[in-house]
């Protein structure tokens, strides 16, 4: 009789241990990078060009490059992603075509990032002749972020009650008027969350930009959309594996800037979501 309660104790203890084994390394990664990276961060590190074969100076061009690439990704991925979500939530009926779109989205989400890199190289860099450029990199990244934006935005649109659309129709509104004036504004916080989650994934990815845009080292900032650029994730790869004698301070500093950028965007996204979920009146 007592046995099974002992078993329960042991079982729960194991489950707790597993959860700790998941959480502690996460804390360790963040803590180590924050603590060791903080020593490198100062105004010069954030705003100066690299010097001495990147072993000194700052990482300014990499920061600028990542911001530019993320904006470029946003320009393409937001209309396509939100449009796709509107189609799936508002227009699509349950046909084999719709199912194949859902299947395509699941598969896009699962394609390895390096395969996106190959695709971008083949289509944007070589065939369309953009060369290794911000345009080619942004286009590659936007296709990669599409499934994230579509699935989060669709969820947000579906959460808007059907009655809202019915009422709009009963007042003589067209389908698009209902979407434009009622459904989209109501779903906006959820859609923005999805967009941010997609873009931060793009900001942190390395493999898709390896052959489409990333430069090992550029002594100046990119001048046009057809220029190459440095980028934070690739820069971290370069300083941690490609340059011998790199001071750890630079490596941890770069890692911290990248991690800080991505995690703060993450916090913004989840805060928007939970804030509006609480305020929602339906």
């Amino acid at each position: 009789m007592r046995n099974r309660f002992v078993a329960q104790r042991v079982g729960f203890a194991l489950l707790t241990l597993a959860a700790l084994a998941v959480v502690i390394p996460i804390l360790a990664v963040v803590a180590v990078i924050v603590i060791r990276g903080a020593a490198a961060i100062n105004w010069e590190f954030l705003t100066a060009m690299p010097r001495d074969g990147m072993r000194a100076g700052g990482i300014f061009p990499a920061i600028v490059g990542t911001v530019v690439l993320t904006l470029g990704t946003a320009i393409v991925a937001i209309p396509l992603g939100v449009g796709g979500a509107i189609y799936l939530s508002e227009y699509a009926r349950d046909t084999w075509l719709t199912r194949s779109i859902r299947l395509a989205i699941i598969n896009l989400a699962g394609i390895p990032s390096v395969v996106y890199g190959l695709f971008g190289l083949g289509l944007f860099v070589l065939l369309l002749g953009f060369g290794t450029s911000i345009v080619a990199g942004s286009l590659t990244l936007s296709i990669m972020t599409l499934p994230i934006i579509i699935s989060t935005a669709e969820e947000a649109l579906r959460a808007v009650p059907t009655e809202f659309r019915t009422v709009s129709a009963s007042l003589g509104g067209t389908r698009w008027q209902a979407i434009r004036h009622i459904v989209l504004p109501q779903a906006l916080p959820g859609i923005i969350t999805g967009i941010i989650l997609g873009l931060l994934r793009a900001a942190g990815e390395t493999a898709p930009i390896l052959f489409t845009v990333a430069a090992f080292y550029l002594p100046r900032l990119p001048q046009s959309p057809l220029d190459q650029t440095m980028a934070l994730p690739y820069h971290l790869y370069v300083v941690s594996t490609q340059v011998p004698g790199m001071p750890p301070k630079i490596q941890f500093g770069t890692a911290l800037v990248l991690l800080g950028l991505v995690l703060s965007l993450n916090v913004v996204a989840t805060t928007i979501r939970s804030y509006f979920r609480r305020r929602r009146q339906w």
């Binding site: 194949s100 699962g110 394609i111 390895p112 289509l123 493999a207 994730p233 490596q251 993450n266």
Partner: protein, 298 residues
Amino acid sequence: MKQKPHLRWVEFAIESLIRVIGFSTVGFVILIFLFLLREGLPAFAQIDLGNLFGTRWYPTFGLFGTLPLILGSVLITISAIVIALPLGVATAVFIREVAPNWAREILKPMIEVLAGIPSVVLGFFGMTLVAPIVRETFGAPTGLVAFTGALILAYMSLPTIISVAEDALDAVPKMYRDAGLAMGATQWQTIWRVVVPAARSGIVTAVMLGMGRAIGETMAVMMVTGNAARMPLGLDALFRPVRTMTATVAAEMGEVAHGSVHYHVLFAIGIILFVITFLINLAAASTMFRKRRRGGLR
């Protein structure tokens, strides 16, 4: 009341535009596959299959044996899942069934943080901090070995496994739990004998999606596994350097001449990766679609 003609035209234009955008996702998948085929298929014509699936990868000598790379990917993916499956499912059960509210409030954002860490950052952490620990613990000459890669990959696939497994546990009706408890079973017995088995198919989906994530992971793996293209056979394979398909493409594509045999072979590896992940996701998706049709429960 009649609508203004201009309004009807706008409606039509917007609806068509949204339709086109919706279908474009299918177009992208097809486009990606066609491009891989276009650049990768010439490899099959240029070198014979015995070479392409041979055991030696020395591109400078015209040896393009992809077998060590395929086995390298398989070895660390399976090892990663062996680590991540018990850890992930146990954590999901803990979050869904056992944890007090405050613990759940801490755990869920932490796992979202893990999902958000860029793979290059985890790779950097792995090579500077995990690899030395692995080297000292196992007395290997280097810490950049398959095991380190598997460890990092396991944590990278955890967010996927945990969230999908959690959804599966969520879909188990409350009455199953009530029935278990009413029979006099302890909470643990109910979880172990009733809830987890009822969520089995969702857990299988979780593992498959985690595997898809692991086999396609590139940067972290390239940074921590040592990248030696040798056959990962023998008992100590886990503690020797290996090289995966993804790492090979990422490391070598930058240096090959466009249109060379080596270039086409790297695209051929891309085809293999695409097909593997496509099949895994297809299998995962079909269980998800089936679940939806049966109203949430298998």
